[in-house]
Amino acid sequence: MITLGNYLALSGVIFSIGLIGVMTSRNVLKVLLSLELLLAASNLLFVAFSKFNGDYAGQLIVFFVILVAAAEVAIGLAIIVLMYRRLSTIQADELRTMKW
């Protein structure tokens, strides 16, 4: 029998993997991918609580999170492309100045 605890544990593991990815990688593209993992872990938690509480609101919030993530990825990738054109690298350490 799969309980809510299984989903909590799985979501915690995925969130921690994503958190380690965000904090340890220098590649900006990899940071953005790890952010997607964080969103996926919280989405799983929302749907699991929605199922176990009998409330549809959690699934609706997942729907909105997906929409916001799509916008965020579009902007983030545009910034990465710009950064590559200016600095010809996508290592986060190379971003030293506030104004280009």
Binding site: L8, L19, I66, L67
Partner: protein
């Protein structure tokens, strides 16, 4: 039958997300995130959230990650990142903080599960059920997301405008 499927897709999800963080080739990072999103969508189907699982497959695996792939191929990152990939100075600190987060999360969720043991309810997240609530109680946030997407389009266009202007200067 369902427990085996849960463990199968959970194992695939954990393995794929490890690949996202650990693989050195950016192409493999993106493709393993596609696998992770696919198994997450299967977990949503096990939880009977059919609509959200379908949207996740269509929007995430279909659109967002293909966009990632497009950028990786467009920038031709493979040669650059593999040769100059050095790990961050904060690698051990970051891993330590992540593992501390994991252990504290487990402690917190353990006490939570003890407090209330819930049984799964009988709700089914079909398109009909989700749509009814989306267009009645949650109509205002749904309309506001269109505003958000419009602002995102403005942002991208203004960023691309900067690229065009610098291209003219050169």
């Amino acid at each position: 039958m369902a427990p085996y499927f849960f463990y199968l897709f959970a194992a695939v999800l954990i393995f794929a997300s490890l690949c996202v963080v650990l693989a050195r080739n950016p192409l493999y990072n993106v493709l393993s995130l596609v696998v992770a999103i696919f198994s997450l969508s299967c977990l949503f189907v096990i939880l009977e959230a059919y609509f959200v699982g379908m949207i996740l497959l269509l929007v995430y695996a279909g659109a967002v990650l293909v966009f990632f792939l497009f950028v990786v191929m467009c920038l031709n990152l493979n040669t650059i990142t593999i040769t100059s990939e050095q790990q961050s100075r904060f690698r051990w600190l970051g891993s330590f903080v992540g593992l501390m987060f994991l252990s504290s999360f487990f402690l917190a969720s353990k006490s939570f599960i003890k407090a209330q043991s819930m049984d799964p309810s009988s709700i089914r997240g079909t398109i009909e059920n989700i749509g009814k609530i989306l267009f009645t109680n949650y109509l205002l946030p749904f309309e506001l997301t269109s505003l958000l997407l419009l602002i995102a389009i403005f942002g991208i266009v203004s960023l691309a405008q900067g690229v065009l202007d610098t291209g003219k200067d050169n």
